[in-house]
């Protein structure tokens, strides 16, 4: 029991100070790499700390210093390859600097997102990185966090009215290049599956599609533009609609790999892919490489995006907030050309 007591009773800087017959403040400084401490004491302290199994109490440290080593990340979901790669990217960067990541899922529901932000504020994180839910709502919770002085980084689903750090993919360019690729493969009548255009990413993709079509002197039928959810079922239904048109398209650009897959499955036994119709998706979900024919797609650089979020955070910690202006990063998407559009 005596042993048990010893194990449970955590060693503090006081124990180390006592052992070395020095002051706790000296120990604290030595442990924190304060440079007005002699090399000798620093080593002594490190040695004793190690021997006694000392572990810093982050609660006490954060309480006193007002600083935290945890950064909060709010995502709609973690079980999508896109967001989990982002998280991985963030971790890769910030762990190296001694920060930890606390993840909160909004499930794409506005109210839960508000709860997430509140929880992270209460938890006293050093910063919050957030990809807002697609449910329409106001952004009071984000403004509140900002007013409280919380450093914010928005990523992917960005609210442009908010003047914060942001990291986005160039969706305009992604759509533009996808259309250009289709045209270079000889497709002419390109249909578009798109999400709610009130959301920035879809608005941009729509714009990219339109301008690319115009640039290649291709007109398009309004019937070719379909609002389609990100699901296999929605993709099937949309493909059915397209086939029933009097003048069906010869290519589909989908804002989602899932609806692209749905379309592909519906079309597979009716027309030849890619000979008669080309299909290209968005996101580079892992399955796009496995299905047959493999699905062309626009990769969204998710891990890279996470890394930029992480670096933005480190940057934010370093500088004086009041002097800084928020940096907006726009990442370049990468076209992944696979069998579903390769008809040369």
């Amino acid at each position: 029991m005596c042993k048990r007591f010893h194990l449970k009773r955590k060693t503090t800087i006081l124990d180390i100070a006592r052992e070395l017959k020095t002051a706790p403040s000296t120990v604290s400084r030595a442990l924190n790499g304060n440079r007005r401490i002699s090399e000798e004491t620093r080593k002594e302290v490190a040695r004793v700390a190690k021997r006694l199994g000392y572990m810093r109490n982050h609660f006490a440290s954060s309480l006193r210093s007002g600083k935290s080593n945890v950064i909060g990340v709010v995502v709609p979901f973690t079980d999508s390859s896109f967001f989990s790669s982002i998280i991985r990217g963030v971790e890769d960067i910030v762990n190296r600097e001694g920060y930890n990541v606390m993840i909160c899922q909004s499930h794409d529901i506005y109210e839960r997102e508000v709860k997430c932000v509140e929880a992270l504020l209460e938890a006293g994180v050093a910063a919050i990185a957030i990809s807002v839910s697609s449910e329409v709502g106001n952004y009071k919770h984000i403004e509140k966090a900002s007013e409280l002085g919380m450093p914010l980084i928005l990523f992917d689903r960005v609210v442009e009215e908010l003047d914060t750090y942001s990291v986005m993919i160039d969706d305009y360019r992604g759509a533009y290049e996808a259309v250009t690729h289709l045209v270079s493969m000889g497709y002419r009548k390109v249909a578009l599956f798109i999400g709610n255009r009130e959301i920035n990413i879809f608005r941009e993709r729509y714009r990219g599609y339109k301008e690319a079509m115009a640039h290649h002197n291709l007109s398009w039928n309004e019937d070719y533009i379909l609002e389609v959810d990100s699901s296999v079922e929605a993709g099937e239904a949309a493909a059915k609609k397209l086939l029933e048109l009097s003048d069906p398209p010869d290519a589909i650009l989908s804002s989602s790999d899932f609806s692209a897959l749905g379309a592909m499955q519906f079309l597979q036994n009716r027309v030849n892919i890619p000979e008669e119709i080309g299909i290209i998706g968005f996101s580079n979900e892992p399955f796009t490489g496995y299905v047959s024919p493999s699905l062309s797609t626009v990769d969204q650089q998710s891990q890279k995006m996470g890394e930029v979020v992480g670096r933005s955070f480190i940057e934010l910690q370093g500088e004086n907030l009041k002097q800084s202006y928020p940096v907006k990063t726009l990442l370049r998407p990468e076209l992944i050309i696979r069998e579903s559009t390769r008809r040369i």
Copy 2:
């Protein structure tokens, strides 16, 4: 600037106490739902707290009480559907009880796993849930955490020597039922793709396979048992080997959906699936439903597993640790029968 000052200066229970001309302890009690506080004061306190925008300082709270509302989870990866579903399950349960989750990825590397555990210990989490990396190593870091009094919950990749709470899937049963299903479909010569049998999950699947075969009076060729990594490429190579045998199998049970897919892709243009050869995987990765033919698989109840982990944690918090004995939960896997084995 005055405004800025007000916004940044956080309100504390002292401010609330001053406002109500009462003691901070009363406010603390009221806020914490202590029942020896009159309903009246409780309401008053809640009202003022809300008006002043009070937020509990968790650092101070945890420092004083020695309790934390964060639970640490260590997984090999977050960007796999299996582990992110587990995390989602954990969150669903513990968020409701006011806990947050801190996630740490080991990248399946022993050293990083040790670092994760240390970081979580330092961060003062209330408990650690961990799925150990598959790299061989010792478990000193886990034992150390346990000795320090940290509640532990192991899941999926469990170390049986450690006497902690654990949540696993019944891999034996999963393999057994998969073989039984194959036999019921008329397959007789079942090959097995298996991982490193030093790891509990693979050992159990191997055992399930052997016993099911024996139970159905089926002998099997040692050439049918292949050690195959969890990758599409490894699956292709393994399928090639099998086809080259003088007496090739008529079914494959794979320990991984990815290698099952690889096998399927290799076999697709050579033999008919499922008529001539049946294939069944393990994990129910999302793509298994999308590929063609769709892939039968053993679902591992990942979200459920996460929920059990979360509930185990809540349970652990409630009881007196010294009196408790660790609960071992064994979840029942679910056979998902799809086109790749449905030949009736």
